[in-house]
Symmetry: C2
Subunit: 342 residues, 2 copies
């Protein structure tokens, strides 16, 4: 028996996933997209394509119960998975929910959690069909979503080529802004005691983006309506810098992103300003925005402009050009924390 003990932190999350991929045998023929994309894709016996993705939300790791309403948490647990299915250009159909419950969670809290899942399921047109409930030390919520996609519409991370236009939906940094303002006021509450009652109404949009994000299923529908097939797509869960690197690595290309074309909401800017933090960090590494980043054939630029809430923010380049972010004509390499040069 091998007694080596390599801490997971030595290889990191992505290193660990590489090790896991090596251990697992390659999938059977029917597996069309395996580990390493937003969702996996497999063919049924009849040949239709099914998509599957799973994501856990773990207390103290992914959320803080002191400021997370259960109903929002249920909604978010569904959204983060639906977002992965959307990133494959697919439509979500069913979900299962495995929940680990500590003693401090009441039946009423569980009901609120599932009411949030029901809200999300209704909004996305999917059904929660099953699950598992167990005792646990912390609240753990693992949702799996199965979706569908016509084979011709499937979009992976890997199809972008130099010259493709890079597009982003919505605005970035809002979820991180919501998190930071909640953390900020939690710290002040701990300092000042129960009498502290902050007015958070000015930050409601970013707080909602953090606690109750919505997956961009509207964009998947809109792409379909306009006959636009992205060449590569990924959802922005880790943050633009990290997710762009994933898309470029899978597609074997570089990229140049124009920071000035990325939308940032006034509330996001207000939080960055209040906390005296660089707005670039919010937009590039904030994470959890659940917007979509996708690459489109440049000949489709006219059709692209017909899509609501989509900005062309850059272009794919040959790998040798690296992954760059440009602002006001100044371009820096988006290496590890490269954006810190701004």
């Amino acid at each position: 028996m091998d007694d080596t003990f390599t801490p997971v932190t030595d290889v990191g999350e992505f290193g660990l996933i590489e090790r896991i991929k090596e251990v697992l045998a390659p999938g059977a023929e029917r597996v069309e997209v395996g580990i390493g994309d937003d969702a996996a894709a497999f063919a049924t016996t009849e040949g239709s394509l099914q998509l599957i993705t799973t994501d856990s939300l773990i207390e103290h790791v992914h959320f803080d119960r002191t400021y997370t309403p259960m109903r929002h948490l249920g909604y978010k647990a569904i959204s983060v998975n639906v977002s992965d299915i959307a990133a494959m250009n697919g439509v979500s159909r069913v979900a299962t929910v495995a929940i680990g419950l500590p003693n401090s969670i009441s039946v009423e809290m569980v009901e609120a959690l599932y009411a949030g899942m029901r809200d999300a399921a209704e909004g996305y047109g999917l059904s929660v069909v099953g699950g598992d409930t167990t005792a646990s030390h912390k609240l753990v919520l693992t949702v799996t979503v199965v979706g569908e996609c016509a084979r011709k519409n499937l979009v992976r991370r890997s199809g972008a080529t130099p010259g493709d236009l890079l597009c982003i939906t919505g605005n970035l940094g809002a979820s991180y802004a919501g998190l930071r303002i909640l953390q900020h006021h939690k710290e002040r509450l701990l300092e000042e005691g129960d009498g502290y009652e902050p007015d958070l109404s000015a930050y409601a949009p970013v707080i909602e983006r953090h606690l109750r994000p919505t997956a961009r299923t509207d964009i998947v529908a809109s792409l379909q309506t306009h006959g636009l097939q992205p060449r590569a797509m990924i959802d922005l869960s880790d943050g633009l810098a990290s997710d762009l690197r994933h898309l470029c690595a899978s597609s074997n290309c570089g990229a140049d992103i124009n920071l000035d074309s990325i939308l940032i909401s006034p509330e996001t800017k207000a939080v960055a300003s209040l906390l005296d933090e660089p707005i670039e960090r919010y937009a590039l590494t904030g994470g959890e925005d659940y917007e979509l980043l996708f690459a489109v054939d440049p000949s489709r630029e006219t059709d692209l402009k017909k899509l609501a809430d989509v900005q062309v923010v850059g272009v794919c380049l040959p790998t040798t050009k690296g992954i760059r972010v440009t602002r006001s004509g100044v371009s820096v390499d988006l290496g590890e924390s490269g954006f810190a040069h701004f």
Copy 2:
């Protein structure tokens, strides 16, 4: 806002599931089997039937790392889900794995865990296609399996009728015997210190049944071969007493089980004897055997006898007759702990 705090223990796991079912809207038309069976069933756009089930294994709740090899744990996490798909008379196709990792788990332990999943996947003919890795306070393993079933072959818990023969695969109580012998020797190790090295070889079969159970996919294949379509089926995860009650409640029938026809292995009997515990508890409430319990049209008794490793152990009755267990001609009602009367 409703501030009532009802502890989950007040309503129990099954009470909680009823509350969750009330909160969730009824599934869409394509959902053919929703919450409350071994797995859910839904139709793809093309009309083929997909099955889905999810199960979590949580450290200190479902397993004890001191005597659970990681490779076995990975195997078990797949098996318990494949068993649910088998209970619908389906075949497992793909799995996703969400894993929560505490710092005390090394990369090598993760690799052993996934090697066990690979072993199971190869044995069952399924592919692990994706997942999620996160930090966690305890080791948490949530597996979701998607399978398939021709519509005409789908078996629910609800189709049994009075007169049907009740069948059980394999032998019962072995997993619980494995658990008890492991617990017994862990206690003695804690008392006697590191010098204590028990010889567990005599109990290897029951220890393996507990740590590395195998789902009865062979029975699903065998039923198919012999053209036998069970009217109702459930896998024995909670224990015969509890799972029989589920099948009878769903089918709206009673049952009489002949305890003398239930197979119990010599090793299971040896553990019960060593620990001076009633063997009935092992067979009726032990749980985690992952054998199948199913009801068959009595006119098929001849074909039933052709199935390897299947015993006819009882018969379905009208609801008014209750759920009974008979031994040596003495019959008791299998109410809450009814078997304690033996």
